[in-house]
């Protein structure tokens, strides 16, 4: 058997050119919005926040290949944690964000431990119930959450007396935080830990046979997703200044799923690309007036048909087919 020496000596690049191009396009859009200003600033701010949420979701749904329809529960913990700690107890926003993440992480650990024994549809149902329960609590426990009224006057992020009030500055900060989140996700993915997660989504039996502790890895991925979601929830509260139960309701699940699937579930850049594209698309169709929703749905459908693995997987189409080594 003659093996042709076509293997590159250096390890494969983490990001191919197409992904880098997509990220570049995202950065250009970001810059354009920053210059243009107006209400698009808010749209882009939310895109950054959703991007952070989706980066976490991607750990559990993408790399590990498990279904969670209840990640909004942890965003809810983050958002309300920030609101309650800052409005009722005058905490520093940054501290409130971190403390809420702690609570969300512990909640994910406690909830995930029994729940993650379930698989497939059952896991999806259980996590969906989790989101509904949290939503119900945020509506019913009025002494803590103020029910439908929600919380207003949540202070913006900042350190000490330095607060980020300007909308452009807010967007820049959120963009920076998204980059930090992205950097962390890349480090975790390309490691012994990340390979273990991806092995689980490839074949649980195969992974277990190589000594990977399936339930533990799933649980850690679930907690990571919960931490990202909580941070996103807190950032929403500090950016918009107002939260109510609806913000973290079931429609958040739909929105973030759309983003993750548009961008490419299980890919490194998918969550970021998906969040930006899915946030800006409806704005582009705004000019079509009452056909806005239809146009948006149509484009989503076309994307799912022609790019079922998401935008960031489209790069494979342009890549030259690799030689199989032997004829």
């Amino acid at each position: 058997m003659t093996s042709l020496a076509i293997t590159s000596p250096k390890p494969a690049a983490r990001l191919d050119r197409f992904s880098l191009g997509l990220l570049g396009a995202g950065a250009l859009l970001f810059a354009a919005v920053l210059v243009y200003g107006g209400y698009l600033l808010t749209v882009m701010q939310l895109a950054m926040i959703y991007g952070i949420f989706c980066l976490g979701l991607n750990f559990f749904m993408g790399y590990t290949g498990q279904a969670s329809f209840g990640q909004n529960a942890f965003a809810c913990i983050g958002g309300y944690g920030s609101a309650i700690l800052c409005v009722q107890y005058n905490w520093e926003p940054a501290l409130a964000l971190i403390a809420s993440m702690g609570v969300a992480g512990i909640a994910a650990l406690v909830i995930g431990y029994p729940t993650l024994r379930l698989r497939g549809h059952y896991l999806a149902m259980a996590t969906f119930a989790l989101g509904l329960i949290t939503y119900d609590i945020s509506v019913q426990w009025t002494s803590l959450t103020q029910g439908y009224m929600g919380y207003a006057g949540i202070p913006p992020l900042g350190i000490g007396s330095l607060t980020v009030e300007d909308e452009r500055l807010k967007l820049l900060c959120l963009g920076g935080l998204l980059l930090v989140g992205f950097w962390i996700s890349q480090r975790l993915r390309d490691s012994r830990f990340g390979r273990g997660l991806r092995a689980i989504s490839g074949s649980e039996n195969g992974a277990a046979a190589l000594g990977i502790r399936i339930s533990r890895f799933k649980l850690i991925a679930f907690v990571i997703a919960g931490l990202y979601a909580s941070a996103a929830g807190s950032l929403f509260a500090h950016t918009v200044g107002f939260i109510s139960p609806e913000v973290f309701g079931p429609q958040m699940v739909i929105v973030t799923f759309t983003m993750l699937y548009i961008g490419g579930v299980g890919t490194l850049i998918g969550p970021v690309v998906g969040a930006i594209v899915a946030s800006l698309l409806p704005e582009i169709f705004r000019s079509t007036g009452r056909f806005q929703d239809i146009a948006y749905a149509l484009v989503l459908l076309l994307m799912l048909i022609y790019a079922p693995k998401g935008l960031s997987a489209l790069g494979a189409l342009f890549r030259p087919r690799k030689d199989k080594g032997e004829a």
């Binding site: 012994r192 490839g202 039996n205 195969g206 992974a207 277990a208 046979a209």
Partner: protein, 257 residues
Amino acid sequence: MALLKVKGLTKRFGGLLANNEIDLEVPQGSLFAVIGPNGAGKTTFFSMISGFLNSTSGSIAFDGRDTTRMRQDQIAAMGLIRTFQLVQLFKGMSVAENVEVGCHLATRGGVAAALLRPSWFRRQEAEVHERARELLDFVGLGAQADLDAELLPYGQQRLLEVARALASRPRLLLLDEPAAGLNTQETDGLAHIIEKINRQGTTVLLIEHDVGLVTRIAHRIAVLDFGRKIAEGTPDEIKVHPEVIAAYLGVEEAAYA
């Protein structure tokens, strides 16, 4: 010394006795084979040893420790690594990455190490990449390293599974029909690889349908039929064993019926 010691191992699926009171001792350093007709209970036997199935009764000791009720990953961590009759590749990962996952037990570090990347971790990652390439070269898949694992032809997927199992530096390697789906040339290559693995010090327990292959490379053979161990001995003893001949002829007769 016996590296693996199985006593009275029994598995019942409802009314079916898939494994019936099987005793087996696999000596350290040997190349041991389990053969038997379709449905004899070979895979069931492997699944119990590797912790993927709980036995109905009986005991399993690996390296002097009772592993009868241990989890798959605990058994794997002791150095008992299996492959699957139906290949269990990691879809969505490249050929090289599949082998890198195999290095899991031979390496350390979790979330914190991945984030902070201390120098030992970076060195380890580099070693993992290098080891994956070496093992792929060893099984003859060096040229396919960057390919999506799913795109490999079936025979090469089997070889990849062997390379991946080797990456964890097993002490006992269980191979479930590694030659299934391979052509004669590929089977010869595989036989060569298995012998080499064994010579380098890894004890091998092999399930195989291809009696020719097994009698050529195995030191010792156990024969299963209808869940029972009907014979055990050296290849020469097995070849002339009346019950074994009957079991295999029985299969052939049934095939003509």
